[in-house]
Amino acid sequence: MWRAVVPTLLVAAISCLVFSGGELQAESCRAHSLYVLSVADGAGRYGRSTLSVVDVPSWRLTETISLLPRTARSLAIDPQGRPWVSYAGRHEQIDDRVQVITEAGAPLTMLRSCTNPEAGIAFAAGRAFIACVQNGLGGRLDVLDANTFARLDTIPVPPPAGGAYYLTAVAASETRVVLAGMTKGPDPKRRYAAITTLDPARLSVTWQSDPIADMDVWSIVPYGDDFLLANVASGESHEAQKRADVLRLRPTNTLDRMAVASSPLWSAVADDVLYLYHNPSWNSVSTTPTRALSAYHLIKRTVTRWPLPDGFDAGGIAVVGNKIVLASSAPGHERQSGIYAFDIRDKLLIDPIRLPGAEKVAPGRL
């Protein structure tokens, strides 16, 4: 249910990592702030969401504001730098609210959307695309004017041949909105996903894949004219030659399979580098505690991998300067919930900013 909705244009604008001589190096520019969504308040009481602002240069929390006393599910930053938070509650709960916060951290408006907007929110063409699970058989996409918040359309997302279609991720560019969702397939021991694309201007479904075996996508990022889909089910692939850690959705809606490292869950792109957080037990019958980070140079096709401590569960990823930032409410044995940063140069997790219930992270504007 967690998904990273990474505003790629912003990430690209603030991320100053470059590959030089085969090594990742940091340049001088940095984002001024990071937004962190927590599903607990300062006292650690879950179900009371908060939004915190991290000052990146000083690496300190500068502000925490209270959101609704419900479990927030996704965080996205619009092109004006405003955080959008969607609510879907915990397992037994239902919600349809989306809250927009000013860049300064003040609640701006509360919107009603389709049911359970937990697949995330993406922005393109001046519009906000809110992806809802709806009834699970098929999803729904609410399209809003990102400036006036007026609802422009509600688009049903039909299920593929497998029947069920539980939306898990959304991303958008000026030419396409891309959705991924779980679906059913013939082998109950395998995972299946289907991809759907929509035209962001005409607001209609343009293409949908058949159910794809050994595929489960909870994070999509635009990259040029393409989209990169992190496949957390890749580690369970039954066919080695068809294994796809990342799928690259081309403008023609063909899918290129990319081998990076197995079971990537969250993703972010900066300067032609795809950063991935790996969790092979996510939404899986597997309980393996192995966690990792990786960086894949999309032009040079080189891969760098870094192991994380066992059981280090992260809910979101962002890249700022020379740091891969992870929000984690459950970072594993004897570690505290908070915002962790992996220093790419030192290859170390630096001391976290403690924050109960930290789940999602997104960079603000420069």
């Binding site: 058989l137 069920a164 539980y166 109950p188 899986s284 019958v285």
Partner: protein
């Protein structure tokens, strides 16, 4: 019990509706401070023409149940009924006929001693007899005002702390140092002994009345705070409000209210101690990180620190303990069916649907995974397919907010869905296990034994809770752990 099952199955929901209404009326009539004692040293005052006494007068009020009180004054007892006024903070007490005359006589004697000369009893009027609960709820004030001939007046008034009724369960004595209050353990053992007749794992019809009496008495005698009692009654009233709810939004609002109330219950350390103790005595082995030696659950259930999701097969039963609580929930609050493809077939507040396995893997949740030991996997899968065909996977079958109606096909709650899948194979997962009933009753129900019996009839046979499935001998729970 089988006969009772047939009878209940023949009935429409209306009898249960009526029963629930009766129960609600019973609950609503319970006032704020039932089950408490207020002991004070009262100041006695009289008219100016009389002597003013200097000694305090010991006076005690017991609020026996939802409407009955007992006043002890000068070693004499007076009884009557009470009603609540002013946001349930003030109780207005009315003596019954016999006690009214006796109380007037007592007042006349006191006034005669202080004012000189005889006071005719028939000139005495009890103008006020009240109990006022102070802010915070733990202290109260008793006031008795009587008027007599000659404009004479006598009053008794004093403040004290509310406490449990005599005979309250002693939660402090633990002679064998096993961490369990001895008297609570004895009460549970009494209930266990009753259930041990007939089928030892479940309540037989012939055992129900006696069992309800024991549990009801134990529940009534628990030394819980007045606020806890109030919340318990509110929860039961809200639960009754769920009866007949057809608008999902309204049902969810009520459930949210119940959830908030349930969370507040744990603020009472005595109730928390009772719940933790019952968990250890009757709940899943290892639920608190330890095995209860010799307990029936411990004998049957393996305990794992991590949930063995890797053993899941399509059709397996899944139970979840989350922060959400429902009045009929003790340990497990939710149930579902593993549907393969990393999805779970389950009923939630907005209907019957498929959800990602990840929802069951969220950190901190306790999960139980089980498999039928009566049906083959192929049989269970066929029944699961049948249920998906009948009830859909797209929320087209709404959530059933009316708990004692497991026979319904038009609306279904979580454990009802699991029960129906296995019932189609001739396997009844509604265990009616005495442990579930005892735990559930002691958590939420503050009723007379008659009330417990009525509640039993409402939920015992016609409902199936996740905990009842957990206790079913037809499911082998191969893994219980914490994410």
């Amino acid at each position: 019990m089988r006969n009772v099952f047939v009878i209940f199955n023949r009935l429409d929901t209306k009898p249960f509706h009526s029963l629930a209404i009766t129960l609600a009326a019973s609950i609503a009539s319970h006032a704020l401070a039932a089950g408490e004692r207020l002991e004070v040293r009262a100041k006695e005052r009289t008219s100016a023409s009389c002597d003013q006494p200097t000694d305090d007068v010991p006076l005690e009020i017991q609020l026996i149940d939802g409407s009955q009180w007992l006043l002890t004054l000068d070693d004499n007892e007076y009884r009557g009924t009470y009603v609540t006024h002013q946001k349930r903070k003030r109780l207005v007490l009315t003596p019954d006929d016999a006690s009214l005359g006796a109380l007037k006589s007592a007042v006349a004697m006191r006034a005669a001693r202080l004012c000189g000369g005889p006071i005719p009893v028939d000139s005495v009027a009890i103008s006020r007899l009240t109990v006022f609960r102070a802010r915070g709820g733990e202290t109260g004030r008793v006031t008795l005002v009587a008027r007599m001939s000659g404009s004479r007046r006598l009053s008794l008034s004093g403040t004290g702390s509310f406490g449990p009724l005599p005979g309250a369960v002693d939660l402090t004595t633990d002679a064998d140092a096993d961490g369990l209050p001895d008297e609570l353990k004895e009460g549970v053992d009494d209930a266990r002994a009753i259930a041990a007749g007939g089928d030892p794992t479940q309540l037989d019809e012939s055992e129900m009345e006696q069992f309800a009496a024991v549990i009801g008495d134990l529940g009534n005698r628990l030394p819980l705070s007045s606020r806890t009692r109030e919340i318990q009654r509110e929860i039961l009233a809200l639960t009754t409000d769920l009866d007949g709810v057809t608008i999902a939004g309204k049902g969810r609002r009520i459930l949210k209210h119940i959830e908030d109330d349930e969370a507040e219950l744990l603020d009472d350390p005595d109730l928390k101690l009772v719940m933790d103790s019952l968990d250890r005595m009757l709940g899943p082995a290892g639920s608190l990180g330890e095995t209860v030696a010799g307990g029936p659950a411990a004998a049957r259930l393996p305990v794992s620190t991590r949930v063995a999701f890797d053993q899941l097969q399509r059709g397996d039963v899944m139970l979840l303990r989350s922060s959400f609580f429902y009045p009929w929930v003790w340990y497990f609050s939710h149930a579902g069916n593993y549907d393969g493809n990393n999805m779970v077939y389950e009923s939630l507040g907005d209907g019957v649907q498929l959800k990602p396995l990840q929802h069951w893997k969220e950190r901190g949740q306790k999960v139980g995974l089980g498999r039928s030991n009566r049906s083959s996997t192929a049989q269970v899968v066929a029944a699961l397919d049948g249920a998906e065909s009948r009830y859909g996977t797209n929320k087209r079958t709404p959530y059933n907010f009316f708990f004692p109606n497991k026979g319904s096909d038009s609306a279904i709650y979580c454990s009802q869905l699991v029960w129906k899948i296995h019932k189609a194979l001739g396997v009844d997962l509604d265990s009616n296990d005495w442990r579930w009933f005892a735990q559930m009753a002691l958590k939420n129900i503050f009723l007379t034994p008659a009330g417990v019996a009525a509640l039993t009839a409402a939920v015992w046979i016609p409902a199936v809770a996740p905990d009842e499935i957990y206790y079913s001998p037809h499911i082998n729970f191969y893994s219980i752990g914490t994410n």
